[in-house]
């Protein structure tokens, strides 16, 4: 290939990468750091380091209710998206090219629709059919929000799975359900888990649709928003830090799973599946 890049180039590249990282992570760092300070400010100077605001957060029932709502909502919409999305992806894989394209358009359209519009539409819809706003209605809104994302991830995994693996299963005596359990699932579950984690985290910080459909309850984003309107204290920093830790842990776990599997598949396909179409 080419020669080693000149020193100047390398320095330039280094500066650029550093700048990007600072830009990306500085705000995050600020939130985390100042969640540990004593005085009721969001920013510097950093004084009186301690867990003061964490204690306050855990003693605040409004925060804790919102926290529980957020997690339950995310879990419910994740599980439903996982089940229905996997089934949809399997179906679309079998469908012909034209039907598959139609499926793409229909299922991915929600991604291009403004949240405000969707929130309003759902509100109007629930009102029209006479369903009072509740945990149920907001769960529907969240499911509709995370489903297309999960579907994209699930399809990317399932479409790449060579259908010949299922034929091997059929050849060795497995009916379709068994093929799914013993072949498709073991070969794609890391991707499905990855999609589920994505769905979970998308749900935890959804705001606009939640605001329209949740009724009297709250989730963390809603509480934070309300808090800021009244003037804020570092409890929100503490809350945000907890959320950050949860989602980073989930993401790393998911990446670990997916990455391990991808590496193995890549090595296998390098040899055994030469010239495989699709």
């Amino acid at each position: 290939m080419g020669r080693k890049p000149a020193l100047a180039n390398r320095i330039l590249a280094g500066v650029f990468v550093t700048a990007v990282f600072v830009f990306l992570f500085a705000p995050v760092l600020i939130v985390v750091v100042f969640s540990f300070q004593g005085p009721p400010r969001l920013g510097p100077p950093l004084e009186d380091i301690g867990l003061h605001w964490y204690r306050r957060m855990f003693n605040n029932t409004v925060y804790m209710d919102a926290f529980r709502n957020t997690i339950v909502l995310a879990a419910i919409s994740m599980v439903i998206a996982l089940v229905l999305g996997t089934m949809t992806a399997l179906g679309l894989r079998r469908a012909g090219r034209r039907l598959g394209a139609l499926g793409n358009i229909l299922f991915f359209m929600p991604l291009a629709t403004p949240s405000l519009f969707v929130g309003l539409a759902l509100l109007a819809y629930f009102d029209t059919v006479g369903v009072p706003l509740s945990h149920g209605t907001v769960a529907v809104a969240h499911f509709l929000w995370v489903f297309p994302y999960f579907l994209i991830v699930a399809r990317s995994g399932l479409d790449r799975l060579d259908p010949q693996y299922e034929e091997v299963g059929a050849d060795l005596g497995l009916a379709p359900l068994g093929q799914f359990r013993r072949i498709v699932l073991p070969l794609t579950f890391p991707i499905l888990i990855g999609g589920a984690v994505l769905a979970f985290s998308l749900s935890t910080d959804e705001f606009v649709r939640t605001l329209f459909t949740i009724g009297p309850d709250s989730t963390i984003p809603i509480v934070l928003w309300g808090q800021f309107r009244r003037g804020s204290d570092p409890t929100v920093n503490a809350l945000a830090t907890i959320l950050l830790v949860i989602s980073i842990t989930a993401a790393i776990a998911a990446l670990g799973l997916v990455g391990a599997r991808f590496n193995r598949n890549a090595r296998t396909s390098g040899r055994g599946r030469k010239g495989v179409a699709g």
Partner: protein, 357 residues
């Protein structure tokens, strides 16, 4: 592992299959004896894989039936057929090791654990992979992977084993080794083999019977010897081996035996068994059944355009009128004629075949 006579009697009748534009199979019938080794031989795209997939149950034919040991299995799903497949690329399941790949079919039939252990271990002996139980699929060579593939199919004691170009991805050395191995396993298990290849050498070396296919039809089905020396049509003669196939016109007078004239020349060749009422057709002559002679000692005369040394043989190309005839000789005969020489060619009438189409 020896289970003599466990092979199934497979009867394929009038099978047709079309994929939107393409007619992949155009009325295929084939009858297998128990334990027979039958090879489908034909050029790319002639429908070999399609026929195999129909027997396996992955595809259904538009017309025709597949009957195994008297039972119509045409519409039976693959997981209910006593038939197993060795796929072209060794599709080992990447999440399982060698042992579990081979045990897969037994597990889906819920065989007890200790029988599974015994059966799989025995099968590993058969394919000579004892000690490889815990290897993963990416830790095997191509030949080893294909052995696992074979073991995974055979361990289910199928009545018919389908093999779709199982050796085509292997290099020559390993391929020869695996050919011998497959023949041994066929002999020892007695399973009916339906084997697909487009390598004629392989087909000749391994099969009890070869079915030569072209454009979705079986053109000839017979022993390797039959197919090679007694081709029944232009396609088989030219596809199998390297025969000289020349267009001929049948002489009106048959007094001196059946005689044909090669089109656009004065060359006459004696052929046996020309059907009545046939005016023209083809003759097929294998290069190794022809002899070079001095030009005045044979009926066919031409000029040598090329002489090539093929290791064990020498091959001459001789122009006879507008046609080219290849003649094969033994090493040592290579001095007989050189490029530019005028030579005679003497066919052995026993090996000249007349083909009507």
């Amino acid at each position: 592992m020896t289970q003599q006579g466990s092979g199934g009697r497979l009867v394929v009748t009038g099978v047709r299959k079309r994929f939107s534009q393409v007619v992949a199979l155009d009325g295929v019938s084939l009858d297998f004896r128990e334990g027979e080794f039958v090879t489908l031989l034909g050029p790319s795209g002639c429908g070999k894989t399609t026929l195999l997939r129909i027997v396996a149950g992955f595809d259904w034919p538009d017309h025709g039936t597949v009957v195994l040991d008297g039972q119509d299995i045409t519409r039976l799903p693959p997981y209910h057929r006593p038939v197993n497949t060795v796929f072209q690329k060794p599709v080992l399941l990447p999440h399982l090791d060698v042992f579990e790949n081979i045990a897969f079919g037994l597990r889906s039939r819920r065989m007890p654990e200790d029988s599974i252990r015994k059966t799989v271990t025995g099968m590993l002996e058969v394919v000579r992979l004892a000690g490889y139980e815990r290897r993963r699929s990416d830790e095997l060579s191509g030949g080893q992977a294909q052995r696992v593939n074979l073991a995974r199919a055979l361990v289910n004691q199928p009545r018919v084993l389908l093999l779709d170009e199982p050796l085509s991805a292997l290099d020559l050395q390993v391929r020869m080794e695996m050919q011998a191995e497959l023949k041994r396993i066929h002999r020892e298990t007695g399973v009916t083999f339906l084997y697909v290849t487009h390598d004629q050498q392989e087909a000749m070396a391994m099969s009890d019977r070869i079915a030569v296919m072209n454009e979705g039809m079986i053109r000839q089905s017979g022993t390797p010897m039959d197919v090679y020396h007694a081709p029944n049509c232009y396609f088989v003669a030219s596809f199998v081996g390297n025969a000289n196939v020349l267009p001929v016109i049948v002489d009106s007078d048959h007094e001196t035996g059946d005689c044909v004239r090669v089109a656009d020349t004065d060359v006459k060749v004696r052929v046996e068994d020309i059907p009545e009422d046939v005016r023209n057709g083809w003759i097929s002559m294998r290069p190794e059944t022809l002899r070079l002679t001095p030009p005045d000692e044979a009926g066919i005369v031409g000029r040598v355009t090329d002489r090539s040394f093929l290791g064990a043989h020498v091959m001459w190309r001789v122009d006879v009128g507008p046609h080219e005839i290849r003649v094969q000789g033994e090493v040592g005969e290579d001095g007989v004629a050189r490029s530019g020489d005028l030579v005679g060619i003497r066919p052995d009438p026993r090996w000249v075949r007349f083909l009507r189409d």
